[in-house]
Amino acid sequence: MSPVVTVTDLTKRYGGVTALDGVSFSLAENRIYGLLGRNGAGKTTLMQILTAQNFATSGDVAVFGQHPYENERVLSRISFIKESQTYPSALRVHHVLRAASLVHPCWDEELAQQLVDDFRLPPRRNVRKLSRGMLSSLGIIVGLASRAPLTFFDEPYLGLDAVARQIFYDRLLADYTEHPRTIVLSTHLIDEVSDLIEHVLLIDRGRLLLDVEAEALRGQVLTVAGPVAAVDEFTRTGAELHRVLLGGAARATVRGDFGPTDHDRARALGLTLEASSLQDTVVRLTTATNGAAPATVGATSKEAVR
């Protein structure tokens, strides 16, 4: 199956600032991707280039096999929901939904109305008078009801409370199950989406640090604590990302292809062991002091998946 998106050595510079630096990856059909990274990492720029809203400095992108720039066949199959989306000030909520329904060939009006109820969005209210959370809900409704074969959600939940975010995750999952499509979820609330995403793309300072199955990442980063000698012994089997020392004791975060036998080994060494969440893993990888280390770790993780 040919990939939905192929990015090859993509670089974007704004003046002297490098927003994307030689990024390459591809997205397969009908999967949910997590595009993770800190604010300013280059996530939004990447999605803007993939949707032809911005221009690459160098490198190549292909979406549904073609370049997206001025390409109706490609653009009509994409929905890009971004936190910074603005609406013409004359429009009311129902106008925005009507406009989106004109544009997206697979639009599901029934779903849109259902979601308006779920999110308690006042359909006749002017977009200027919506709260931040309501604007986010409006974007989410457009993104879900458009049923576009390639849907980007860029930090879609700003201002949404926990209940509304849970509604979003549940509806996303339910609709994705019934109507599989490729979804890219860009977020820094990693713990909330870690069970939804199938594949992780981690960007930091414009570089792709991780391109790996979420399941493969799970349990790959462990924190062990105990006597220094025992910690040294254990960490030899993985890449150490972080270490804290206290007297003769150490606490180390290690990345490796760990399994149940490694857990037994840690216990046998008298170490306490704690598996990192996806969020912790990402934090560790993006704050690792040695800039080169995470990239190589990313490479080994890809091997581990194969």
């Binding site: 809203q53 001025e70 406009a99 997206h104």
Partner: protein, 230 residues
Amino acid sequence: MNRALTVARLQFVAWPLVVGWPWGILASSFLINLAIFASIGDADPEPTTGGLASIYIVMFIACVNVIIQEFPFAMGLGMSRRSFYLGSLLHFVGQAIVYAGVLHLLSVVEKATGGWGLDLTFFGLPFLLVENPVLRYLAFAIPFLLLGFLGFAIALVFKRWGINGMLTLSTAAFVGIGGLAALTTWRGWWPAIGGWFADQSGGALLVGWPALLALPLAAVSYLIIRRATP
């Protein structure tokens, strides 16, 4: 082309406002003029107002708005720049054609009712002496296009190059026009220029020259939007 039609419809989803603003402003301008000239009586035997300009100004602002507000929205919904431009053009030219027709009709009614019983010239174009109905219609329509494309072009300069682009553009315009005016004064060309304008027919001033200016503006707008980001 289908996507361009979609863009045109997109800009019409809140149509009562799209139509309401230009005609609302024009109607209030007309009513105020009517009230004023009805109350002051015969002070001015054949009053001519400039109130008709209001609808052209509103349409100019609407075109600026299309670029500032509708462009990011349409791009966000996955429109290409080409479709957006063609659709906006359709949307705007369509309005210009219809609005010019209505204005032409109103000017005919104005004439038939003896200037609404007050000898008032609100919709009529007094300095357009040509009685050719096609030319009269075009004299209503073409200025819409000139102002519309001017609005597109100026807003696009802002959209693509930001505030620096606007400053550069206005500086260039200021220096250019100022320089020409100074040159004209220095060489004593004003009478010649005045004479040139006087020699132009109403048709040339309201139809010919605006059409000639609108076309390059439309072309330049298209070139700018092709590399603009929302």
